[in-house]
């Protein structure tokens, strides 16, 4: 016979204000099998927990219902308390009378009635709970870091320094990401490459880091502690074990006029190329689409001149299988392009000429113009004719905060880097004038607002509060038609160069990866964290963590901080030899299973297989489903496709749910 105890928490005023807790306790006492019920101000406090423990002993309770906050909040607390008695922690259930009752209702009578119902449901459920044993799973002490930008590098280094192995994957030929493209960084104006390259080098040389560039994630299976990952190492056509990175191939390549990705189209590169001088690894890659040999079958200039015979035209993609225990996703962002050909749902800027005018550039391009390693060696020269622009107009919020273009969010970093741009521009072109069209200056951060003020006060940037309606060319000049809402006027500026702070958008190919990983994403395709406040680096897939701008627009300090946080999570995970997992897994009743195989097909984890039942003579009696408890994550999809009800799910058994429903309305 079940003996259930009900403990009703007031949560101070939080529950007590709307739910009459003493009534709930009294009503609970009337329920069949409830032998003890009580209400108390703070059940989660030490005295509250002691109360529960004492009652379990004194009344020989076989099950406990805590009516308080959400189980997502305190289930662990109370189960731990219960565990300290003789009772299994899985014989404790929570009735959520705070988040889903007292906080959302105002009528005390109805809220109390609902609270009583919620308790009754849980009493019915807990009566049918069984003591379960947590599942222990081994942990592979190796992490995968996807993405080799600053976030990925930082996470990899922190994990590696914590003495755990890291496999780092970068889809482009070199690590470094967007940060490698930047000139100086706000708010200190220190050189981006100067602070980044040492980290790139140590990521490459760290004994605990195995680096794969020009490599993508092909597939991911498994679960926390035990992921099986297949990587696709794309053919570089250069043997990275032989190549010394001398660069002679680049020099000899007859194709010289390919627009350089690293220089955002402002510079040129050959068909065989090292993306930038400080690239890590310093090994070239052949752009197959543009290579003369691959196109016409003739050339091989690079091969001829390579004295180490490192060029391998017959190289193919290579697949590498690795086992890891945790994954850090640090895939970064991409700048929104104002052109017509954009991702679905995002429109171009026809009013700004759809990016067809060479002197309307985006901020990343301007970074390259400012950068000493850039196409102009740090001199600000406009792309159309190489003239030094004397009037530069900066537009913030291009695409961002723009419902019509499909991006309603703030890109967060543009206010700061635009202020930086105006400063760096002024430092290089002393007689030049920078104008900035902005909507709001968002400069929250240490020394951030001071930085923007400096741009305005010391470096003379004129800030105009308003958007720009149209940009068009008139001879040598670009006419910028904007507004200054502070004076309530239209503003027209004849500019030499226009720089657009375009929105930070998710990586265009992030969705397939997210689906491989089972990580959620929002409508803008930024990856979803498990909790906006309390689990900012976790995802809803255990063992997979986020770092950097793949989650939302972020600046460098934030990306680095989140990367280190993700690394701490990974190290925490690796510090245990075994993981405990809630034993909510499904099991098959073989005697009634007809072996139809629906569950095998439907299982998202491929955790179910056929099992042949044979008699003593070895003759097949029948086939039934068999669930691998290690792979089962407990979603219960198999139950719903099982017609004979031959599968059940621990923790959410048919009987438990059935009696919950049955006790709903009395």
């Amino acid at each position: 016979m079940a003996r259930i105890g009900v403990f009703v928490c007031h949560c101070g005023e939080n529950i007590g204000r709307t739910v009459d807790c003493s009534v709930v306790a009294k009503e609970s006492a009337k329920l069949r099998d409830v032998v003890y019920s009580v209400d108390y101000k703070y059940m989660c406090s030490d005295p509250g927990q002691i109360m529960v423990k004492d009652a379990i002993k004194k009344h020989n309770l076989t099950g406990v219902v805590i009516a308080s906050c959400s189980p997502l909040m305190h289930e662990k607390t109370f189960r731990r308390a219960v565990q300290e008695t003789e009772l299994s922690p899985f014989l404790c259930e929570m009735a959520n009378i705070r988040e889903q009752c007292s906080w959302v209702h105002e009528d005390k009578v109805l809220a109390t009635k609902k609270a009583v119902d919620l308790v009754r449901l849980m009493v019915e459920k807990v009566k049918r709970n069984t003591p379960l044993e947590p599942i222990r799973i081994p942990v592979t002490k190796r992490a995968l870091v996807i993405g080799g930008g600053i976030a990925g590098i930082q996470a990899a280094l922190d994990i590696a320094d914590g003495n755990q192995e890291v496999v780092m994957v970068e889809k482009s030929p070199s690590i470094g990401g967007h940060m490698a493209q930047l000139s100086e960084t706000f708010p200190t104006l220190d050189c981006s490459q100067c602070i980044l390259t040492p980290k790139m080098v140590s990521a490459n040389s760290h004994k605990n880091i195995k680096l794969y560039t020009y490599t993508e994630v092909e597939s991911v299976t498994g679960y926390i502690g035990n992921f099986d990952v297949t990587l696709r190492k794309k053919a570089r056509y250069v043997d990275d074990s032989i190549c010394s990175g001398c660069g002679i191939c680049q020099e000899k390549c007859p194709q010289k006029k390919i627009s350089s990705e690293f220089n955002t189209g402002l510079g040129k590169r050959p068909a065989i190329y090292i993306p930038f001088p400080q690239a890590v690894p310093n090994i070239p890659v052949i752009d197959k689409e543009r290579c003369t040999y691959f196109k016409n079958g003739k050339c091989k200039a690079c091969e001829k001149f390579c004295d180490r015979n490192a060029i391998k035209f017959d190289q193919t993609d290579e697949f590498i299988n690795i086992k890891v225990g945790a994954i850090v996703v640090a895939t970064g962002y991409e700048m929104y392009n104002i052109g017509k050909n954009n991702k679905n749902g995002i429109k171009g800027y026809g009013e700004y000429g759809c990016g067809e005018d060479p002197d309307i550039i985006d901020s990343l391009q301007f970074e390259r113009l400012l950068s000493a390693s850039g196409p102009t060696f740090g001199e600000v020269k406009r792309p159309s004719d190489g003239k030094v622009p004397e009037t530069v107009v900066f537009l913030q919020c291009v695409g961002s905060r723009d419902k019509a273009k499909g991006m309603e969010y703030c890109s967060k970093i543009c206010c700061m880097y635009t202020a930086k741009h105006t400063m760096l521009y002024k430092h290089k072109v002393h007689h030049g004038q920078a104008f900035v069209f902005y909507l709001d200056i968002r400069a929250g951060g240490k020394n951030y607002d001071e930085f923007v003020r400096r741009a305005i006060e010391e470096d003379g940037a004129i800030y105009l509060r308003g958007r720009v309606s149209k940009i068009y060319r008139e001879g040598d000049k670009l006419i910028v038609k904007g507004a200054d809402t502070l004076s309530g006027s239209q503003v027209e500026i004849a500019a030499d160069l226009v720089v657009l702070a375009t929105a930070i958008t998710a990586q265009p190919d992030i969705v397939p990866l997210a689906q491989k990983l089972g990580v959620g994403y929002d409508k803008y395709h930024f990856l979803s964290e498990a909790h906006p406040k309390l689990k900012p680096v976790e995802t809803n897939s255990a063992g997979i963590f986020l770092a950097g701008a793949c989650q939302a627009p972020k600046d460098i300090p934030e990306s680095v901080a989140q990367a280190s946080a993700a690394a701490a999570k990974v190290l925490g995970l690796c510090s245990a030899t075994e993981l405990e997992r809630e034993p909510y897994v499904a099991k098959v009743y073989e005697s009634t299973c007809a072996g139809c195989g629906f569950c095998i097909e439907a299982c998202p984890y491929k955790a179910i297989d056929n099992k042949a039942i044979v008699n003593r003579q070895g003759k097949l009696i029948k086939n039934v489903a068999y669930i691998n408890q290690g792979l089962c994550q407990g979603c219960g999809t198999c139950l719903s496709v099982c017609r004979s009800k031959s599968i059940d799910l621990a923790g959410f058994t048919d009987e438990q749910i059935f009696s919950e429903i049955n006790s709903l309305f009395v």
């Binding site: 026809g350 009013e351 000429g353 759809c354 068009y472 060319r473 008139e474 001879g475 006419i479």
Partner: protein, 290 residues
């Protein structure tokens, strides 16, 4: 297929050459336009900016007339009429509340389905560029044209659905088909002030000047338009503009249908080239087109 033709008030008065050229070109292309009997004014801008119901009921009444007369498509050369007809149709289709009111005002049913096309759409979508290319007999080689779309033809783009509101190409494509060269320029979708011409003439003079300047700077010999209001402001006001700004303004402004008519070898005087205030003949002769 025959099309219900809605000329609108201007085409029966100041823009009669638009009317003539439209009819001649369509005749030549065997596109049968039949004027909607007893059509009424679409109300233009004054109606919808004074009384919303009126601004929808007037144009919608014409769609009802067209439907009653058995037309399933209405063609309007005037950008303003086209805009009002499309807008009225859009509002009635998208709001039951509006439909009910318009039904009451016009005393006629509102669940009608009439396609509304601008004349240039007729050439693009119904006749087709490939066929057009074949029928042009007299290429306008060497003529540089600034195609001026203005506002009402394109915006609101959600309702007009004619072309890209910022970088439209339809008139340029037609121009290029005639053998003339359309020049890229910045003011093709700016507004000339249209309905303000009479009450706020000065504004219109300023706006029109900027447009003509931009076209001239882009190297255009003539400006092509598809709207009688644009034409009125750009052509008729050039002398006044010249006076106001102390410069000579004599850039011919032609209707796109006149250009097409010339390319089809239609007599220029029949196309109404004589009725412009800025005489286009000198330019056309200089380019050996006439």
């Amino acid at each position: 297929m025959n099309y219900g033709y809605f000329p609108g008030c201007s085409l029966h008065a100041t823009a009669k050459e638009f009317n003539d050229s439209t009819k001649l070109v369509c005749d030549k292309l065997d596109l049968e336009l039949k004027e909607i009997d007893k059509w009424i004014c679409c109300g233009a801008t004054p109606a919808h900016t004074t009384n919303q119901e009126l601004g929808i009921a007037l144009p919608f009444a014409n769609l009802q007339l067209a439907a009653d007369q058995g037309f399933d498509t209405v063609v309007a050369p005037c950008a303003a009429c086209f805009n009002r007809l499309r807008s009225a149709d859009f509002e009635v289709k998208h709001s039951g509340y509006t439909a009910e009111r318009v039904g009451y005002i016009t005393g006629s049913r509102t669940d009608i389905n009439v396609r509304i096309l601008h004349i240039i759409q007729l050439f693009r979508d119904e006749y087709g560029y490939s066929r057009l290319k074949e029928v042009f007999s007299k290429p306008l080689k060497g003529l540089k044209v600034a195609n001026y779309y203005g506002c009402l033809l394109l915006r609101p783009s959600l309702v007009m659905k004619l072309d890209d509101p910022e970088n439209p190409v339809i008139m340029d494509e037609l121009t290029n088909l005639t053998g003339a060269e359309s020049v890229p320029w910045a003011f093709k979708t700016e507004c000339c002030g249209a309905s303000l011409a009479i009450p706020e003439t000065e504004i219109v003079l300023d706006l029109s000047k900027k447009i003509i300047d931009s076209a001239k700077n882009a190297g255009a010999d003539v400006i092509a338009v598809a709207c009688p209001l644009c034409h009125a402001n750009l052509d008729m006001r050039q002398k006044q503009i010249g006076k106001k700004f102390g410069a000579d303004y004599s850039t011919p402004v032609l209707y796109i249908t006149q250009l097409l008519g010339l390319a089809l070898g239609i007599d220029p005087s029949k196309l109404g080239l004589d009725s412009h205030l800025v005489d286009p003949y000198p330019v056309l002769r200089a380019k050996n087109i006439l």
